[in-house]
């Protein structure tokens, strides 16, 4: 049984921020949780799934984030507490529905949890989701530590039910994926009955149909929506999660939220500024609690904003300061706009220390110059950079090898439009720099569909897209439908590695089991593509010769959209992990090393971490601890020096 449903007096566990959010939702009696995987949000749905049966929960990995919000909204409409969760990019995907939902309102408490990734530690951008709260005109809460990540969730459900609208919770990687002590509260009874009432008057919030359809009468829904926001702002004035620490009239006031409040606290402590600098940590970051803020602004002359990523608090507080200037006086603001903190990337305690030291003319040097020089000397000599690459035995390396070779042989300057997954590394030498465009989920195939129609303008370069199996269902299907319908002759290479691999093998509509492990219908991608009218081939990417032959054939075929499904499970997947198919070794008598003429093709170009260039012996060798025995490198070596033996 999961520790997340432990009950009793004074129970405390070390929880990840994501687990704390889950525990908070369980303490609030949530019944519905839906999401789409994405770092750093994925552990939330996974943790719910582990306690679904005990806590009377319906949990799903939805096809994409928009569907996840819709599924959760149905729960709310039927009177249940529901939650949907995604990474920041997912909010973009869901935003169309969210804008309508914010207008129609909700019934049972409903939360949107967005886990942002400042610094893009595991994302293709460091997009900021907080601005959506302003756009959607819904309340936004940002927990500041692990205990609060739990405690704020029941409070947010209450707020959602109070104002009858969805409430957004924003976490960041350094909270979601960090862990801290969390004291548990009691778990409620979760027996619930879902009923959707719709027979009341049109705009009745409890009994009418739930619609977002204001046509030419915005006052009917937009007006009440703004009233809800006003009510939230009023509640925020006394929110227990907005806290202030510091002197009554600080020389400098830090206004901060989320993980940045922890960096701020640490910076103030390290510099010993507790009596000079105040920290106003806000949990309610949209709409801002105006009276609370002006009260603090009135007591200081200088304000530093410490937040990630966009200067959101900074902009919104400045508006309030401008509007109340007659009352609070003239203030000087510092932050991203003044250049005291970087506008790009995540923050850390050192960046806040530097900003404070600069503003208060304090010198801070944690190490002597001499020692810093020694450390730099060590790193320069002894810490070679560790570039990104595919795992040993990764099917993507083999897939890109074949795609790259097929395009080189074709000779018409063909290229690949990339998509979101581990295979983004197709842009790097790890994927032989085959990928030449990369944007959002599903966009590779949409862009490829467009490129395919440029023949009219003289473009004769063959176009391919790559797309993972989860991405295929998430957002690439409409692009493929478009390409087939418009007769765009591109080749979609469907990298089917049997699950949403990058985020930890979550199931998708093509999987035979759901998040609980129960058997479910698996949509057959091959049949689906054929039924849509694409020319379809299937290959195992580990079969290099067969895959390249099929690719050559599809590149020549110019009648319309084509799909090549390259099917091989991820090397880290439960079905492959720890199971070597082949024992692989280099026959040193056959490896001619630098005299071969292959110019170390296997190590220098193929670049699998399991195959290393032995500088002393000047031959290749297999690193037995790293090699997972896929055997693909055997087919790379022109001298036949890499040998594989099937393990019985």
């Amino acid at each position: 049984m999961s520790y997340l449903i432990d009950e009793g007096q004074n129970i405390q566990h070390l929880l990840m921020g994501n687990e704390a959010i889950v525990r908070g939702a369980l303490e609030a009696g949530v019944n519905i949780a839906a999401g789409y995987p994405g770092t750093p949000s994925s552990e939330i749905i996974e943790s719910f799934s582990k306690v679904a049966k005990e806590r009377n929960l319906y949990v799903e990995w939805s096809t994409n984030e928009k569907v996840a919000v819709e599924v959760a909204a149905a729960g709310s409409f039927a009177g249940l507490r529901s939650l949907c969760v995604m990474k920041q990019n997912g909010v973009n995907v869901a935003s169309d529905f969210l804008l309508h939902l914010a207008s129609s309102g909700t019934r049972g408490g409903m939360l949107l949890v967005s886990c942002d990734d400042p610094g893009a530690l595991s994302s293709v951008n460091e997009g900021e989701s907080r601005l959506f709260a302003r756009l959607l005109e819904i309340p936004l809460l940002e927990p500041g530590d692990f205990q609060e990540a739990k405690d704020i969730i029941p409070w947010a459900f209450e707020l959602s039910e109070e104002i009858r609208n969805i409430v957004m919770i924003r976490s960041v990687t350094r909270l979601s994926h960090a862990s801290g002590n969390v004291r548990f509260g009691p778990l409620p009874d979760t027996a619930a009955r879902a009923v959707f009432n719709y027979s009341g008057p049109l705009l009745d919030p409890d009994t009418g149909p739930v619609i977002s359809m204001i046509l030419a009468a915005p006052e009917l829904q937009h007006g009440p929506q703004l009233e809800k926001l006003k009510k939230a702002a009023e509640i925020f004035e006394t929110c227990p999660f907005n806290t202030y620490t510091g002197p009554d009239a600080p020389e400098l006031l830090i206004i901060t939220s989320s993980a940045c409040s922890l960096y701020s606290r640490e910076a103030v402590a390290i510099l010993g500024l507790e009596k000079r600098v105040g920290i106003l940590k806000l949990a309610t970051t949209w709409p801002l609690p105006r009276r609370l803020l002006t009260g603090h602004l009135a007591r200081t002359a200088r304000i530093l904003f410490v937040e990630e990523v966009a200067p959101t608090l900074e902009d919104h507080v400045k508006i309030i300061a401008a509007e109340t200037a007659a009352e609070i006086g003239v203030k000087t603001f510092y932050g991203k706009k003044s250049g005291h903190l970087p506008a790009v990337g995540e923050l850390n305690p050192d960046l806040v220390i530097n900003a404070l030291a600069g503003l208060l003319a304090i010198s801070y040097q944690p190490l002597t110059d001499e020692f810093t020089g020694k450390l730099k000397g060590l790193a320069d000599r002894y810490a070679p950079p560790r570039g990104m690459t595919f795992c040993p035995g990764c099917p993507h390396r083999a897939s890109y090898w074949s795609i790259h070779n097929a395009l080189e042989l074709d000779g018409r300057r063909g290229f690949v439009c990339g998509d979101i997954g581990c295979y983004v590394m197709g842009t790097l030498p790890a994927g032989f720099s085959t990928v030449k465009t990369l944007h959002a989920m599903g966009s590779g195939s949409g862009i490829a569909s467009g490129f395919g129609k440029l023949k009219h303008f003289g473009m004769d370069q063959p176009v391919l897209s790559v797309c993972g199996d989860s991405t295929f269902f998430h957002a690439a299907l409409p692009a493929l439908a478009n390409a087939i319908h418009q007769r765009s002759p591109f080749t979609m290479v469907l990298l089917d590695n049997r699950g949403t691999a990058m985020t930890g093998f979550q199931p998708h509509p093509g999987s035979p089991t759901n998040v609980l492990g129960d058997p479910v219908p698996a949509l057959d991608m091959e049949k689906l593509c054929r039924a849509m009218g694409a020319k379809v081939e299937v290959s195992d990417p580990f079969d290099l010769a067969g895959t390249q032959q099929k690719l050559n054939h599809l590149l020549e075929y110019a009648e319309g959209a084509k799909v090549l499904i390259l099917r091989q499970a991820c090397a880290l997947s439960p079905e492959r992990r720890g199971k070597k198919k082949y024992e692989v070794f280099v026959d040193e008598s056959r490896c001619r090393g630098e005299d071969c003429g292959c110019n170390r093709l296997c190590t220098r170009i193929f670049g699998c971490p399991g195959l290393v260039w032995d500088r002393e012996k000047k031959v290749s060798r297999i690193d037995d601890i790293i090699c997972v025995g896929c055997g693909v490198c055997t087919d790379i070596c022109p001298a036949g020096a890499i040998v594989r033996k099937e393990i019985a």
Binding site: Q12, H13, L14, T39, P40, L121, S122, S123, D145, F146, Q147, T173, R174, L175, H177, A178, S179, G180, N181, A259, L262, Y263, R265, E266, A269, N348, P349, D350, P366, L367, F371, K374, L375, K376, L378, A379, R381, Y382, A383, P384, R386, G387, M388, T389, F390, C391, C422, M502, T503, R600, T603, R604, G607, C608, P609, L611, V612, W613, R615, I625
Partner: protein, 205 residues
């Protein structure tokens, strides 16, 4: 509150290595043991796409007073435990100070640039001598060889925890480890992990 005393508050530990070496489990086990003793523990981690074969780091902040930030400031690491020697140096350069205690595995995992023959991986013996010039409290053990001898290189993280236990820089004992591992892993895996812990413990004189 804990009756065990910390040498400093907050006490800062970094566990580092290469993606896939079991860094996260090691940090959770260690954090869990210290939380059980009544400390406030913050573990800052990054994992996900950027960690495929790349450097990984967990920052542990141990305190009797406050919740720490999930990132340790520059120069403030009290202990660095590394599952890979070049990563030990990378983290030392970012977070070390003259008093930092360093414990590292000596078995290299080659960066892709080394695999390709574009970069040199420095000789570990030379690394060791250079590190000892900068931080005297440095310990080097071949934990991978020990883990392989026990039947599985994945045990390297547990061997390292055992060695850390022997160094007594962090307040936990074998019993604490035994309880922590029993909470995290299925019963069938306990014996081998305790064996790995003991093996690591024995590698420090």
């Amino acid at each position: 509150m804990s009756d065990v005393r910390l040498a400093k508050d907050p006490y800062n530990i970094i566990i580092t290595g290469v993606g896939g070496q079991g860094n996260v489990l090691a940090s959770r086990l260690l954090g869990g043991m210290l939380a059980e003793k009544g400390f406030l523990v913050t573990i800052g981690e990054t994992f996900g796409a950027s960690q495929r074969g790349g450097s990984v780091m967990s920052h542990l902040r141990i305190s009797g007073k406050t919740v720490g930030s999930p990132q340790i400031p520059r120069g403030k690491a009290d202990v660095i435990v590394s599952l890979e020697p070049a990563e030990a140096i990378r983290v030392l350069a970012g977070y070390g100070n003259p008093e930092t205690m360093l414990l590292t595995n000596t078995h290299p995992i080659y960066p892709v640039g080394v695999i390709k023959g574009d970069l040199d991986y420095p000789p570990v013996a030379e690394m060791k001598a250079a590190v000892l010039q900068v931080v005297p409290a440095a310990h080097f053990i071949d934990a991978t060889a020990q883990a392989v001898a026990l039947g599985n290189p994945i045990l390297v993280n547990i061997v390292m925890l055992g060695a850390l236990g022997r160094l007594q820089a962090v307040p936990f004992r074998r019993d604490d480890f035994q309880e922590a591992i029993a909470r995290r892993l299925p019963p069938g895996q306990l014996a081998i992990n305790i064996q790995a812990f003991d093996a690591g413990y024995g590698m420090i004189q």
